[in-house]
Subunit: 83 residues, 2 copies
């Protein structure tokens, strides 16, 4: 079966996010002063071939740990559905 995974990789809350801070200020400067606390990470969509949802979960988890996320600076979360 083919599964689709939607993965979010975000900088840890304890870390500064200069890109997000710059975007917060830029949004404010174009009039969107209601916006605050912008943090920017990556969104990754991928497909995985697996026999069942548990295996798909394990594969996506492995991909995140080995390559997609840097555990020192980032945390990740994902959802899986049948593609």
């Amino acid at each position: 079966m083919k599964f689709k995974a939607e993965i979010d990789v975000m900088p840890h809350d304890a870390l500064l996010d200069p890109q997000g801070k710059a975007v917060t200020q830029a949004l404010s400067s174009i009039g969107l002063t209601e916006v605050e606390g912008v943090r920017i990470g990556r969104h990754i969509r991928l497909f995985v071939e697996a026999s069942d949802e548990n295996s798909a979960n394990a594969l996506v988890n492995e991909a995140c740990q080995k390559m997609l996320a840097n555990a020192i600076m980032e945390s990740y979360s994902f959802s899986i559905e049948v593609a």
Copy 2:
């Protein structure tokens, strides 16, 4: 009220995504051959001060159109919840 928005900005399906393609190949090279079709975009989390959910929606939409997404190359989607 304060609302939290989770925004995904992804390259249009019709466009090539060289970064995603490179990651697909890299995952395959470390043994994760079950993974395919990786596409990489941005995940943005932000907070917005608004009187109700409709206003928050409108503000986030405006932020996406004016700054967070490049409509020519990217599409965006978001969800909002009370922070």
